[in-house]
């Protein structure tokens, strides 16, 4: 009989898999009391299957994996991942060329690390306040509402991807367009930042309906 594993609920006795390699490389004496207990527990309890996105590589980044998953179409993770790596390489190349051409005093200001640029660009794109539709007396109002961290991150990534998919020339490749947008967002320019500002302005304009929110 096949036991379904992925989306079924595990028995509560199953433990999460441990990915950090440092824990296994420590000799027995250096472990603290809780860690010793944890190791003994792992010897008797079963462990859940590790999902394919979980990686023990030092270079893995959860935000990048989430972004790659959002870019993926019809389950083609290979293509999405290669597009992501080409994007990061394109950003790095552009920044390095700028760095080598710049005079000495400006060299420190140019950021060449594609990961830093990616995280900063996403942070710049995240809206602070969002709008939600609330129906009162037959009419639907757009009510300003605080957003959770997850929702902010999701909105930033969604806007970036839709912007790159729609507003580009038929022949430009996705990595090239994405790297352009990420660099613009890093400098607080570009269409995605404009969209964020438009949302903020709408929320500011609808301040009067803020009391419709009950949570």
């Amino acid at each position: 009989r096949i036991m379904p594993v992925r989306w079924s609920r595990y028995n509560p006795s199953y433990l999460e898999p441990e990915v950090k390699t440092e824990l296994y490389q420590k000799p027995l004496e250096e472990l603290t009391e809780e860690e010793r207990e944890q190791m003994e527990l792992k010897a008797v309890r079963p462990i859940k299957a590790a999902p394919p996105t979980l990686s023990s590589s030092v270079f893995s980044d959860p935000m990048i994996s989430k972004f790659t998953n959002m870019m993926m179409k019809s389950g083609n993770k290979v293509l999405a991942r290669s597009l992501m790596s080409q994007t990061l390489e394109a950003i790095k190349r552009k920044q390095l060329e700028k760095y080598h051409k710049a005079p000495e005093n400006e060299k420190e200001t140019i950021e060449c690390n594609p990961y830093v640029i990616f995280h900063q660009a996403l942070k710049n794109c995240q809206p602070i306040i969002g709008l939600s539709n609330i129906t009162r007396g037959g009419k639907t109002y757009q009510v300003p509402v605080p957003l959770t961290d997850n929702r902010k991150r999701f909105l930033a990534m969604k806007w970036l991807i839709t912007e790159c998919r729609e507003n580009k020339h038929r022949r430009t490749m996705m990595p090239e367009k994405l790297s352009q947008e990420l660099l613009l967002a890093f400098n607080n320019e570009g269409p995605v930042i404009k969209k964020k500002h438009v949302l903020h302005k709408m929320a500011e304009a609808n301040r009067a309906y803020a009391h419709f929110r009950w949570w």
Partner: protein
């Protein structure tokens, strides 16, 4: 004799090592994996695993069309061209230095698995020969001549052959830009008639034949054939030394993806370019050398695990190239890997903060399997 392994580990200080005594002390201390010896003639085992610089003007002059695409991108990003000196290249250079030019041309076949550096070894040898003043006949990728051809003309010279004007004209343009001075010195030995009014007299410089091929694109393949034949006939005199460098030589004896108008497949013999190149690669001439590379990446109808000469050339190609000197190109040795990794760090190509740690380096080595191409692809996004 200083142990090179320990010299590398003490190189964390980044100072000049005392191993290479001919390194001129630079303004800022270059790290151990560089060498300032930019003449390939002086490269010895001492320089193994180090990277040497080719000035950018020389790159444009010597390699108008030879370098791999990713290497060209790297040259543009870093603003310098650094090639690693590796053992197969050193062996080839030693063979070339000791070769007797009065004997028939020796054929060298560089083979190895995918992405181990065969094309870069070929470029190293081409650079050496052009520095020494040889006439270099560099065909960047013979596979481009047997696939994706938009225009196939019927040859006016021989009835069954097919011409490829576009590929021939592109190659002639690059050949002209890299070998200007030879084209003025070498004279034709026969009269060639290109059409009703056009002809090249005996004793005219070869540059005129190339001009003719570029001006009249229809006869570009015939012009290429004439150039090859003249060079072959005159190389034994000793006024110049000829190097025939072909990348992807297994294309000449495989199958093509081209079709004639009646949809019947074209075999390589029916193409003028391939026919003339096959005559060039035969060792019935003296006064030079033939260095070739096998390549599975662009090859047609060959499995991706094939890398030995027997598998890639097939029976026909192997018999045609036999006897040859095989030169295997392996993956990076630990020392070469360190040197490549150090170069990427120095040029700020590895930007990820974990890439600078020992763990990151071990992970890169494991994931790439010390394969140069995989290392390059992995280090791209990092």
């Amino acid at each position: 004799q200083l142990d090179r392994g320990c010299a590398l580990h003490t190189a964390a200080r980044g100072g000049l090592s005392s191993v290479s005594s001919q390194d001129v002390p630079a303004q800022r201390p270059r790290a151990v994996f560089h060498t300032s010896e930019s003449d390939p003639a002086k490269h010895t085992e001492q320089h193994e695993g180090r990277l040497y610089n080719i000035p950018l003007e020389e790159v444009k002059a010597v390699f108008p069309h030879g370098l791999p695409h990713r290497f060209q991108q790297q040259v543009q990003t870093f603003n310098e061209a650094r090639v690693m000196v590796r053992r197969p290249a050193l062996e080839l250079l030693a063979c070339l230095k000791g070769s007797n030019l009065a004997h028939p041309a020796v054929r060298y076949v560089i083979y190895g698995e995918r992405g181990t550096g065969k094309t870069m070894t070929l470029c190293h040898v081409v650079h050496y020969c052009s520095r020494q003043g040889w006439l270099v006949l560099h065909i960047p990728d013979a596979h481009l001549w047997v696939k994706n051809c938009k225009e196939l003309l019927h040859s006016s010279y021989k009835k069954d052959r097919l011409d490829q004007p576009l590929q021939a004209s592109v190659w002639l343009k690059n050949f002209k830009s890299s070998n200007e001075r030879f084209l003025k010195e070498i004279k034709t030995q026969k009269k060639y008639i290109w059409g009703k009014q056009e002809s090249t007299e005996e004793g005219r410089p070869l540059g005129e034949v190339v001009e003719q091929g570029l001006a009249r694109v229809r006869s570009a393949s015939d012009a290429l054939g004439v150039v090859l034949r003249e060079l072959k006939q005159q190389s034994h005199r000793g006024s110049f030394r000829l190097l025939v460098a072909v990348d992807g030589v297994n294309a000449l004896w495989g199958r093509t993806t081209l079709r004639k108008e009646d949809k019947s497949p074209v075999s390589p013999e029916e193409l003028t370019l391939v026919h003339n190149l096959r005559k060039m690669v035969r060792n019935d001439w003296s006064g030079g050398a033939i260095v070739t590379t096998l390549s599975q990446t662009g090859s047609l109808f060959k499995p991706s695990s094939a890398y030995t000469p027997q598998e890639l050339l097939g029976k026909e190609g192997f018999d045609a190239l036999d006897p040859f000197v095989p030169i295997p190109v392996p993956n990076y040795s630990p020392k070469e890997f360190e040197s490549c990794y150090g170069y990427y760090l120095e040029r700020k190509w590895l930007q990820h903060e974990k890439a600078h740690t020992e763990d990151g380096k071990a992970e890169l080595q494991f994931l790439s399997g010390s394969n140069p191409r995989q290392l390059d692809r992995l280090a791209g996004p990092l």
